[in-house]
Structure formats: C-alpha cells, structure tokens
C-alpha cells in the first residue's frame, strides 16, 4: 500500500510518515518546494514530491501509484484570507487533481475546531453539533478554514464516490509544541488560568500519528469519523504545571473560575463590544467557549471501532516532550 501524505514535514506529518513506515506502508511525502528534507532525516524509501497546493500545476502526478491520500496540510497561522487560500483552496485543488487518478481513498486531518462548543452537551463526541453557516464566519480564521476544508472534502468525496475517513484531533502536543491555546492567557512570565480544573482534549503527536497510520491500514475506519484524544485529558492546572516544570519556565499560575471568565466576557460583549466586528478571540463568548469551555472528552469510538489504545501514556509523553 502506498500513501500520499500532504503536510508531511509538519509537526504531525513527520510523525505520521514514521508511523506509516512502521506499519509497512510506502510513503510519498508531499512537501513545499523549498522545504529542507535533509533535516528531516527520512529514510531513502520515502519518496519526496515537491509542490505547493495553492499553485502547483501538475498535482495529479503526485497520486501516481498512491492508494490512499493522507491529507494533513493546513495553515495554522497568518491572516484569515491566507489561511483560507492555503487550507481550503489548496484542498480543493488537490482533490480536483485526485479526481483524475486511480486513488479513491483519503484520510483527512480535521479538527475539534469544527464543533460548536457552545451547543455541545456535557460531553463532546463525534455526534456533537458542528458550526453552521449562520455562525461559522464569526469564528477565527483557523476555524473557518478547517470547517470549510472538511466541507469541501465531504462534498468531493460524495461527488466522486471515494472512501473518506475523517480524524478530528484535539490539541496535538509534543516536543517544541507543548504550549496550548487551552491554557488561558499568558501575561509576561505569568499565566491567567481560566477554568483550572477544565480537562484539555489532548493527543500527543506520536499517539495521534499512530491513529492516522491505523486509519490508513484498517478497513474498519473506512467511511467513519473519529475524534482523536488520548483519553479524558489532563486538567489545565496540572498540564500547565508539567509544562512549566518541563521547560524550566518560572511564573505564577493565577486561577480564574470558568464561570467568572465567561460571565465577564459575556458582559463585556453585551455592552462594550456588541457592535464591534473585530474583537480579540478571548473577548468573544463563542470563541472563549471553544477554547476553554469545560467539557468531557473520550476516545470511545476509536477504542470500540478500531480497538485503539494510545501507545504512550501521559508520563511517557511528558518524558518524550521535555527530556
């Protein structure tokens, strides 16, 4: 089996390439034209294909001999329009190229950001409501582009009769990527921790990559959607303490109960910012909720459908991240 992996040199992509190789899957790594692949120290078996999804003219060639597309490429920074162009238009161009090839399976890396946190009950699962057209454009650029990326992928999958697996990871963490938006607000060396007892939907990058490799090789994943978390998640207070211990950062953790935080934001939004169109994320109730609302998370569907358990426990993840 041969997988075409987009975003292969990214934080998650590097680990997905390794996890696929470990399961005996051949890999064609799609990377941007000026990426230094030498630094990635991939084995010679990895077939590197250089292209930028936004502008490459011959993307269909990337699918030569590929049985499955693992689509990880997405912009995680930059302005909203740049993110949309990279993530959504790039996906559109990639899948239009795929339509002319023999590759008929794909695994998409979506995101927890597609869920409407405010409408979720106590537990956020695969059946929780997603944003709808009426509210998605009030979200941040990353959310809009990931929501649209999944929308485009599902539409084209249906149109061409492909088999799609959608994986929605929570917060992916690991070495050099351990500080998360769910931790609240950093103020200099100190941290305002909103909802210190809230659990974070964590997935360590190596565990997350293992799920992608499993989804590629296990037919039970075909046509399904899974949230990817390692378990119920660590509490913000504990995770931040581990982060500060691991990185050697010194500072205070200032706890603010979630209900106080969201009440203040709602009050501010109803009075000061009601007519504002551009407000920092933490001051918009919906966005505040999507980063910090205390919910329960589980990986029951992953466990039941695919028999997956995380290869690394939290202690081992800490060791691999900070040692």
């Amino acid at each position: 089996m041969k997988a075409l992996v987009t975003g292969a040199n990214g934080f998650l992509g590097r680990h997905v390439v390794a996890a696929l190789l470990a399961r005996g899957v051949e890999v064609r790594a799609l990377v941007r034209p000026v990426v230094d692949v030498e630094a990635l120290a991939w084995p010679p078996a990895v077939d590197v294909f250089r292209a930028d999804l936004r502008s490459a003219r011959d993307l269909a060639r990337a699918f030569d001999g590929a049985d499955v597309l693992v689509h990880l490429a997405a912009a995680v920074s930059g302005g909203e329009d740049l993110q949309f162009a990279s993530t959504v238009t790039g996906t559109e161009r990639l899948l239009e190229a795929m339509a002319g090839t023999d590759c008929r399976r794909l695994v998409l890396c979506s995101s927890f950001s597609v869920y409407a946190y405010g409408d979720a009950g106590r537990t956020l699962g695969e059946r929780s409501p997603l944003h709808d057209v009426a509210d998605v454009y009030g979200r941040d650029g990353y959310t809009v582009s990931k929501w649209w990326q999944e929308r485009v992928t599902r539409r084209l999958t249906e149109k061409h009769g492909w088999t799609l697996t959608v994986l929605r990871p929570g917060f992916i963490w690991g070495r050099d990527h351990a500080y998360l938006a769910a931790l609240g607000q950093r103020v200099g060396r100190h941290h305002v921790v909103i909802g210190p007892l809230t659990r974070i939907p964590l997935t360590h990058v190596e565990n997350c990559a293992d799920v992608f490799a499993l989804a590629v090789t296990d037919p039970r994943a075909y046509g399904k959607t899974f949230n990817v978390v390692d378990g119920p998640g660590e509490r913000v207070w504990t995770y931040l303490a581990d982060y500060m211990r691991g990185t050697g950062e010194v500072g205070w953790r200032v706890p603010v109960p979630y209900f106080l935080g969201i009440s203040a934001v709602r009050l501010g939004f109803a009075t000061v910012f009601r007519s504002a169109t551009k407000v920092p994320s933490l001051l918009v109730p919906d966005r505040f909720e999507s980063r910090l609302k205390p919910l329960r998370f589980d990986n029951r569907r992953l466990r039941e459908a695919l028999g997956w358990t995380p290869p690394l426990d939290y202690r081992e993840c800490l060791r691999r991240t900070y040692d």
Partner: protein, 346 residues
Amino acid sequence: MRAALIGAGSIARQHLGCLKNMRGVDLAGVCDLSAATAEAAAERHGVREWFTDHRVMLEKVRPHVVHVTTPPTSYFQLAMAALDAGAHVIVEKPATSTFEELEALTRRAEQVGRVLVENHNYVFNAAPLEIARRIESGELGAVTHVEARVCLDILGSSGFADPNSPHPALELAGGAIAEFLPHLASLAHRFVGPHRTAHTVWTKRKDSVLPFDEFQAVVEGERGTASLGFSASAQPDAFWLRVYGEKMQATANLFETRLTFDGPRPVPRPLRALVNGIDEGSAVQRAAIKTFFRKFKGPCAYEGLWELLGRVYQALDRGAALPITTADVLAVNRLVEDLKPRERRT
C-alpha cells in the same frame, strides 16, 4: 443598483464588507475560480449567487457595477469583459499591467458609455481629505512638496515573498512594490498634480524572491514636487504622508489615524514651537486611542476604500461627477509607468 464582484479572495473582503452596508446596493453575484472561495464570500456577505465563471455571472446577473479584485495581471481581460457586458467597472490597483492596456480599457468604457474607476483608496482616507480641505480653504497655503512613503514588511508573512508559491504581483515590473505604486502616485497626483518628470532608484537589500525591496523617486508635478518611497526593511509598518504648504505642514500615518499640523499660531513667536509641540502631542495621543478602538470595527486602514466606494455609487446613482475621473486614472498611471524600473530583475 446591482453589484457583482470577480475575485473573492483577500481585498474582496473590504469591497464586499462595504457594499453590504451600503443602502440601495444589491449584492447580486460573486465569482472566483475557487468554488469554495466564491461560496464562502457569498455566505459571509449575503451575496445572492456565486459563480466560478465570470462570463456566466455577467450573463445571468446583468450587474450595473462590477468590482474586479483578482490578481493584477488578470484585471485587463476581466474589466474588458465587464465593460462589454454593459457594466461600470471598479478595478483594484494597478488597473492594468501596461499603460497601453489601460488606454484600451478607458477607450472601451467611453465607447459603451460606462465608467472605469481605479481604486485610489488612500486619497480618500480621512487624513488626506482633511489636508485637501485645508488646501482648498487656503489654510495650508499652496503646496510646495509632498512626501509619501510606505514602510511595510513584505518580506515577512504577508505572502509577497513566499518562495513556495510565487505571489501574482511578482509578474509586474517592479514585483511586489508595483502593487503600491498607484497608492504613492495617486497621492502625488492629488497634491501636486500631473507629473512632468520622475527619477527613480530601485534597490534590493535582502535576499528574497522579490526583484526589489526598496524604492525611491523624486517627481516634478505641475504644482510642486513629490518624493515617493517604499521600504520593506524600515520598521515599524507605516504609511507616512507629509504635505508641505506655504503656510503649514501636515503629517499623517495612513495606516493609523495620526494627523498633525504644524503652522502659525496666535502666540508670540518664541512660544510657537512649544504650543505646536503640546498640540501635536495631544493629537498623537488622541489618534493612538482612536486607532486602537477602530481595530474593533470597520475597515481600519481601508477607510478610504469605503469612502471612495460610497462616493462612486452615489455619483453613479445621481449621474453626478465621479470622485476619480478617467483623466485622474490616466494621469496617475502615466506616473506609475514612469516609476517602473527600466529593466526587470529576477
């Protein structure tokens, strides 16, 4: 009035955001080669229909006004198609890649009895409008010189210097800086009139895919002189406009709301610098606060675009004089043509 837009990425957001709030405008169609981009723009801004083929949109929507906001090298063909479909055209800058193409467009507009307006948005920001008002009232005196200088980090994350996916502006003579020449030229034209001569220096300070990242020009206009500049390295980002009058000098940062005047005061001469300094300091503080709060709402530095579009639609509706005439567009682009580098660099 039915409006349609071709090219739904990036700057289109400002056009659509403005039109959505404009009374009497029916946002009838939006078109982009990317179906997702077109549909997202339609959903976000409440546009009735979206398309991926501009010819289909022009045929079906029959718009009165078409906004062309695609990458610059496609403006000519799309603007011509819109004129042929009987629409007025508002085109982003630079309106065409060559002056000959612009002449062809303006000729076509005249033949079909429609207008072609190039976006000279910074001329319509609050600061240049206030400076123009003081010139017209005689407060500032006759303008002797104008300086316009953009300091903008286009080497960073803006996308202009992305080595992975060449920015469309790199196809223009002068590369990414060419996108800013109409801004500089339109301000020079506004304050010192059509140009007679222009002398330029194009240089490259940093290693990047851009052919040039610094630009300087000295321009002789009919009513005074202008020095124009662009720097990709000078920080922080700013768009400085300084107008020297015979009675007063005005300084503005068009990326913010800062506007100060230095002129005669009804105080003894030794106190003039002190009073001016205090006045300038408080004006800068007020502008800083205003700049901060305007980030929460509205077009921010694109305030001039919203103002310009409002005036254009009003003029079209009433059959009145346009805020930017064909003569203005041609004069500005004659200057742009003279500002371009003599030879291409890769």
